[in-house]
Amino acid sequence: MLELDKENFAAEVLEAQGLVLVDFWSPKCEPCKALLPGLEELAGRYPAVKFAKLNILENRRLAIGQRVMGLPTILIYRDGEKVAELSQDFQIEDVEAKLKELSA
């Protein structure tokens, strides 16, 4: 998964074409770590979607700028527009359901 920071966020997400999934995480967030293997597996099965992650510990302002203030959070963008959001109480199945819906 692509590692995001304030240098590449605009180019890789906001100015990118197609679907981009951004996983907001932190090394202290246990539920975030639990999601990671599942996301990597999904990345393999959805090659048309760009999978990226953002460590909020190093990019707090960037996350808050995207109105993310809780973990785990996954945002999905289409052509730079936020089109889906999953926050806190969700499972990997919910992520896949959203991806299916958006790639249809």
């Binding site: 202290k28 967030c29 246990e30 539920p31 770590k33 809780g70 926050s87 499972q91």
Partner: protein, 404 residues
């Protein structure tokens, strides 16, 4: 479909302790955990009351050690969510999102999840400043201001933790000034912390914000006055609710959804145990969850052993079996034992005798509806074919045997 001796649902401290004990007893053991192992205990940095661990041990460290401990003894793990159970038969079926498993005994260790306040704005602003996990989200609030709702141990400890990040932490307390539900030692630390402020006699009425938390409305219960306080985040620690929705109709729950158990962690269904926060109990902590897990695993081991014996010696026998219920503390039943033994020995070609000591095993007596002792059931091909209860005479026993 894979089969195990014991399947444990939930990999928090209760499930992990049960896994350690069951696997070490050489039972084939599987823990099914839908998220990451460690449960609620893995969501707190402040863990200083688990015996033997106090010098900076965190929740994730402690539960990681429990996880490795369980693995060390051969406990298996699977990441999946249990959605249904079929508990009627000897082999219990555990249905998950991705498959089906069978087990001789099931230990429910699904724990609890944070209770929500149910106020306006709470659901909409979850993940946008409303949080139930300080370790997960504290980093967002570096130098910002947060409100904590609740005043038990978890609320006050997490508020103290948050002062390492936030500039100011305001705790909204429903009680009179100076009254907290948290333990004394934790209270004292909070009162001494300069970053912590209290609002007494109050509840949260609303969380406000446009896409992100901006303020809360706090209602004073004494005066009825509602004041608005600007804030960047709201952390809610107002107790927990048990994760038992998927168990409704499968076993007895109390009116709040907790599972009542016996001292051996037995639920209302034979071979099904419950441990930890999901159970009706006085103290919900890591140490008590672990203790429950140990008890349930040992009880499950005994149950499996007794039931397997019973199946082999009684239910699966082709020869009829005289099943006698007695107790060393019950005079008449004690007197009946030699009579029954003598008659059985004389008829050894026709039937076997199996005695059940109801002092040590009440489960089988309960299953056969035996209320009075002594009692003797004639079991043929796994089914009850006759019975004698009360004082046992040679004649009544001979009559029963003749009926074969």
């Amino acid at each position: 479909m894979s089969s195990y001796d014991v399947i444990i649902i939930g990999g928090g401290p209760g499930g992990l302790a049960a896994g350690i004990y069951a696997a070490r007893a050489k039972l084939s053991t599987l823990i099914i955990e839908k998220s990451r192992v460690g449960g609620q205990a893995a969501t707190t940095e402040e863990m200083e009351n688990y015996p033997g661990f106090f010098q900076g041990t965190t929740g994730p460290q402690l539960t990681q050690a429990m996880y490795e401990h369980a693995r060390h003894f051969g406990c298996q793990f699977c990441k999946d969510e249990v959605v249904d159970l079929e508990l009627e038969g000897w082999e219990k079926v555990i249905v998950t999102k991705q498959g089906r498993y069978t087990a001789k005994a099931v230990i429910i260790a699904t724990g609890a999840e944070p209770r929500t306040l149910g106020v306006k704005g709470e659901a909409e602003l979850k993940g946008k400043g409303v949080s139930y996990c300080a370790t997960c989200d504290a980093d967002f609030f570096e130098d910002l201001e947060v409100v904590v709702v609740g005043n038990g141990d978890a609320a006050i400890e997490e508020a103290i933790y948050l002062t390492r990040f936030a500039a100011k932490v305001t705790i909204v307390v429903i009680h009179d000034e100076g009254v907290l539900d948290a333990t004394k030692i934790i209270q004292e630390r909070a009162f001494a912390n300069e970053k912590i402020h209290f609002v007494w006699n109050s509840v949260l009425e609303e969380i406000k914000g446009d896409g992100i938390v901006q303020a809360v409305a706090i209602k004073n219960l004494k005066t009825g006055a509602v004041t608005e306080l600007a804030t960047d985040g709201v952390f809610i620690f107002v107790g927990t609710v048990p994760r038992t929705e998927f168990l409704r109709g499968k076993l007895d729950l109390d009116e709040r959804g907790y599972i009542p158990t016996t001292e051996l962690m037995e639920t209302s269904v034979d071979g099904v145990y419950a441990v930890g926060d999901v159970r009706q109990k006085f103290l919900r902590q890591v140490v008590t969850a672990a203790a429950d897990g140990a008890i349930a695993a040992v009880a499950a081991e005994k149950y499996i052993h007794e039931e397997e014996n019973f199946r082999k010696e009684v239910l699966e026998k082709t020869k009829p079996v005289a099943l006698m219920f007695w107790s060393p503390f019950h005079k008449e039943s004690l007197a009946a034992v030699p009579v029954v033994e003598e008659v059985a020995a004389a008829n050894a070609a026709k039937l076997d005798l199996v005695k059940i000591d109801t002092y040590r095993n009440q489960r089988i007596a309960r299953r056969y509806g035996v209320e009075e002792m002594p009692a003797l059931l004639l079991v043929k091909g796994g089914e009850v074919a006759g019975a004698v209860t009360g004082p046992m005479s040679r004649d009544s026993l001979e009559d029963l045997i003749k009926s074969i």
